[in-house]
Amino acid sequence: MTTTPSSTDSQSAGNDYGTHPGARANGIFKGLSTGAGVLILVTLAAVATFLLVEAWPAFVSSSEDLGQEVSFIKPEDGQSLMETIGFLVYGTVLMSVIALVIATPISIGIALFISHYAPRRLAQTLGYLIDLLAAVPSVVYGLWGVAVLVPFLNPFYQFLADYLGFIPLFAAPESGEIFTGRVAMSAGIVLAIMILPIITAITREVFLQTPVLHEEAALAMGATRWEMIRMAVFPFARSGMVGATMLGLGRALGETMAVLMIISPGLTLSPYILQPNQHNTVAGYIALQFPEANAMGVSSLVAMGLALFVITLLVNMLARWVVSRRSEYSGAN
């Protein structure tokens, strides 16, 4: 950069090391990619600033004032702004965790099948199908959840409550209430299907990158395929699997439509995932209340959005950090 020739004269004057034909394109590309990087940072900062500025009025006004002004904030019923945020964050995390518990083992199983068990042709087809799952809009998942999945699952919920009802998680609805199936469990299952593709895709990539060298080392000493996977593939892929799971969690946390359509919402901190009117998510709640909200109401909703933003950001940062630690493991040679 420091030795740009000032004229053709200085070039012909004998400096053969000044510039080269690719320099210009390289400079342009550098500018473009730096610009793109900066743009992302600026956007992120703008979103964060917007959230803070908009949420500020709701944060600073007293609980009573807010209760007077905003229809859905009811401090007298234990639903002040902070309490509501608490319930919603709890509901969001609860359903996302249900989704993860279901989706992670299945995704890893599918990914392993694709990378290490299936014949090549079948593996490819299966890979495409999984990617297709990611292309289904979430409204469609919501519709399908309500129309097909919930009626299908409801008998299982009754069965679960009958036999495992002594575990609080699976407690049956209060007498008088019926099993509707429109509960956190259903939302979690639909979320699980929605995050399955991303977890599968990432873990599959990581599994495929396992060095053949290490796989053969395991096989050559008489490991079965499963033993080889445990010896060579999992240790290599561990952080990739954690990272993939967390990216899936990030997606589940922000999902709105499907949950909104499936669940009968409620605001509690209850563990009863088979009971309706117990839980809601931040995103679902915002979508529900937004159309009717006045200025202060919007400010309150933005405050909830800010909470979701912070959680999602933390989860994604943690995921990136875990994935980046992989370089330490990639190991020998």
């Binding site: 090549r120 060095p211 060298l213 290490h214 796989e215 053969e216 080392a217 395991a218 096989l219 050559a220 000493m221 008489g222 490991a223 079965t224 033993e227 010896m231 060579a232 240790p235 290599f236 493991y329 990639s330 190991g331 020998a332 040679n333």
Partner: protein, 259 residues
């Protein structure tokens, strides 16, 4: 412990491609047999058929017989996983498991057969295997460090320790020194000479001097041209092979007048 291997009319294919054609030879127990030959003539391919590792490669298959002390490796009731527990293998590039400690690397294969290993047994096995691989003195103070923290030559000896920890009948080595410096190479050659008291050893090498130094018997493979199958040209006592080979091609290859 050590066993003889008889190979009868073996063809090896990758899908439709015939890589090695009609090889028949015998490998003596308690001796070192070297395979030499130009690149691409199928030495690795052939070596891998001796513990069915070629089956790991898509399309890899054989026709013919491989008898280990009379038992056909490709017989009906033979499980390749079990075969590999009896016929160990060391690869061209050292491949210890990077996330395992040195000690765990040595135990890795042993643990496959013995789910529960008492601490003292494990320590004994680690020590005896590492001693067997001439590595004990160099690593005894850092057994819990990762296997990837060793030098290339040490890693290769760790891989040998790992292979002998499961007490195989046969040890296959595919160019075990080609990634190593001359000093590590000598260390491994000494080790091979020690190990042949207990094991049947088969080694692939591109290094004539190495074949001459370590092996008792040498087999020369050659290939007529690209796309043609590799064939066994000649097999004999190493001293005879290197002084008075009976085939012209062998003599040309050994004296460097090749291709």
């Amino acid at each position: 412990m050590s066993k003889r291997i008889d190979i009868n009319n073996l063809n090896v294919y990758y899908s439709q491609f015939l890589a090695v054609e009609d090889v028949s030879l015998s490998i003596e127990p308690k001796a070192v047999t070297a395979f030499i030959g130009p690149s691409g003539c199928g030495k690795s391919t052939f070596l891998r058929t001796l513990n069915r590792m070629h089956e790991v490669i898509p399309g890899g298959r054989v026709e013919g017989e491989v008898l280990i002390d009379g038992v056909d490796l490709y017989g009906k009731d033979v499980d390749p996983v079990t075969v590999r527990r009896h016929v160990g293998m060391v690869f061209q590039r050292p491949n210890p498991f990077p996330t395992m400690s040195i000690a765990e690397n040595v135990l890795a294969g042993y643990r496959l057969n013995n789910k529960r290993v008492s601490n003292s047994d494990a320590e004994d096995l680690v020590e005896s295997s590492l001693r067997g691989a001439n590595l004990w003195d160099e690593v005894k103070d850092r057994l819990n460090k990762p296997g990837s923290s060793l030098s290339g030559g040490q890693q290769q000896r760790l891989c040998i320790a790992r292979a002998i920890a499961i007490k195989p009948d046969v040890l296959l080595m595919d160019e075990p020194c080609s990634a190593l410096d001359p000093i590590s190479t000598l260390a491994i050659e000494d080790l091979i000479t020690d190990l042949k008291d207990q094991y049947t050893i088969v080694i692939v090498t591109h290094n004539m001097q190495q074949a001459a130094r370590v092996s008792d018997t040498t087999a020369f493979f050659n290939i007529a041209g690209t796309g043609k199958p590799g064939k066994l040209i000649e097999m004999n006592d190493t001293t005879t092979m290197f002084s008075t080979p009976s085939e012209k091609a062998t003599e040309d290859y050994i004296s460097g007048r090749f291709g």
